[in-house]
Symmetry: D3
Subunit: 157 residues, 6 copies
């Protein structure tokens, strides 16, 4: 009885009042997180393509090569996943229906960027890693424009 | 030189050949994962609303109450995040441009479902938890229809 | 003094009253989680055995092969661990002493299933991956029988 | 064809040869991990019961109290889960059928210890936290006896 | 014998040759990660202090309040831990003995910054959250100066 | 107004009063966690160097070899990271300015130990894995001496 009453009351309350503190303009969103990890994906992709296969009759060098290659692939995987996670937080939590009117390609931009993250895992592709960087830069511009702020795009590497 | 050669060759290769094994039709996707965690979100929401506040002059009962409330909120948070993650895997990895033609509300369906996951974290709302279950059921139907399979929708709880 | 009093009182209270909400029949358990990840283990095992080693004088193809192989092994590892975790949640949290009387091979069933998860990590074995699927199906049947519900066993792949 | 051949060969090979390196006697298992986290569970349980509720008309003290209580509950939860994970690794990976003959209560010991971990999450119970410590000590003794080594039981706190 | 030979050879090789690819100047380090999470710690601290306790006779509002407070504390905890992790990666992986000569307070700076992260978890302190922001800004300046690059400090919130 | 008042009051309170419960002498710190994972790093390093490359014309054996090598590298990575995390918890949370006077090489000891963890990831080096064990033993001695307790150093493997 008590429970039913509470939930009935709860459902009638305007939702925005309950989570006003969380959707306020002071939320900390910054595409720089996704930019840093996308840079790591690009860096790892380059390093994997750079790695020289040692002579197969040098077991010690083969072990070092396999350890390095294995780690680079795992780091690429992890960083691509983090890029995807950070981009999707922007898409699902920061961007609101009001933004969709202003940026009609919002969904398409994020869908393609997320699919590029997956492609950078599945492949060792310089082209896709560079396209991911471009997608993150596009989102950086869209994001700061939506806040009417001018934040310079830079790369750490 | 060697590096440049490799990446040049790599970029000219048709992409589908490289990751043919990963985008094949034998991939294991199942909206049941998202359904199970969404059920847990609904269950935790109900239990939080059910919890009876003990008399404030009973310190032992207050400690037990706070422990239970704190855990239920944390479990709701975790399960809502898992639901969001699992739904977004379907959106970014399973669904392809060809599906978008068939399901023009694909992006909108997933955007709203993801936003419901966040709402179920931010609030203790029976209404939103039920709407999340409905969104997952809609995605269940859309998913199995796209595979031309008939899988019965059921709930574990 | 105060502390001692509280803990003394706490220890005398009947334990079942404190966590009644958590062990209730509305808990959300479903062996489908373990079934989905076990399917992924089987799928990855097959794909690893399917992978064709490229000619060693094609460095670009070797890089793609190593990336794919490395990822498949890592995904197999992760999915086998998740299968193990989900099965052990059923064993430690869902099944109670009263079930043990009805299913005398309860411990043995879960011990063997957990050991199969580890075997599927350590090896690339089609046989063990198939045995793991069979173990999960057995647990699916045992679980739903214990709840006196009839839930159809199906595979997503 | 090639695939079928490989898997056929693979399944005929004796399993122990493949993972000989992993089940060797040089594996690093030590119940000390579970002992440390179980101590943290006990410590957090005591501290939660120790916390003095401030006067409700002191908002600053209430905020500090809630922050501390919330963190203690979360740390207790996390450490109990780690204890459970570490104990179950011993049960599923270290202990083998040959040990079961020597320790017929092996399954029962681990089942009860795992259930104590869950109880220490669900409740704030000094009794169950102490019983968990006793269960870990019992497993410490069983484990080192099985390796015919004498390792002194000590506590860090 | 073979093993001994390999490890003997391995230990005689100059270490820098093995991990040249990993310590190269193209590594992606950026204190912006720590800045974003430190901003979230500050934001959460402010929001916790801002939260108005509802009237105790309004159960629905109390549930919403507890949910929000619990989440803010958990997010503060998580973000402070991420800040700590990201700062310590800079300290342990980016900064090298050669930097220590140039920045004699390197260890002290990072020790204090890490301790501020812990203080921001343990307390709800506006002062410590602001001091953490100042510590991250100091590290931002130290880091980019060590790379002889000029990167503007900005805040997302 | 209310908010400003609270934070003003909060900032004037002596910090030690707020987190007295958390920095108490009953905190559970034990370098044994870092010792166990460092042993695993050493064990994995040895096993990687031990692995015999199979004949390249035996595809089934090559698959088993690659699976094992890949897993050993991943486990070494994970355990080295855990060792680093556990050591840094001691450095940032347990050791206080008062200890620094007694152990002037405190910062240097932990910096080098953390850098050894990274080296054990980047390389497959028996020498560095042994040096890491020695660093952990030094920290074990420093830690227990600071608590004026005598705890015997032992290894699980």
């Amino acid at each position: 009885m008590f429970k039913k009453l509470i939930s009935t009351v709860a459902n009638r309350l305007p939702a925005q009042e309950i989570h006003a503190h969380c959707d306020g303009p002071c939320g900390v969103y910054d595409p720089a997180s996704a930019r840093i990890t996308a840079e790591a994906v690009l860096s790892m992709t380059k390093k994997i393509l750079d790695l020289q296969v040692p002579a197969s009759n040098d077991p010690q060098a083969m072990v070092a090569y396999n350890n390095t290659l294995s780690r680079y692939i795992a780091i690429k995987e992890e960083q691509a996943q983090k890029t995807k996670d950070d981009l999707l937080i922007l898409w699902t939590d920061y961007f609101k229906p009001v933004h969709l009117e202003k940026y009609p390609d919002l969904h398409d931009t994020f869908w393609k960027a997320a699919k590029l993250c997956s492609a950078c895992k599945v492949e060792v592709s310089l082209q896709h890693a560079n396209e991911l960087m471009a997608a993150v830069e596009k989102i950086h511009n869209m994001f700061w424009a939506s806040k009417e702020r001018n934040v310079t795009w830079y790369k750490a590497s």
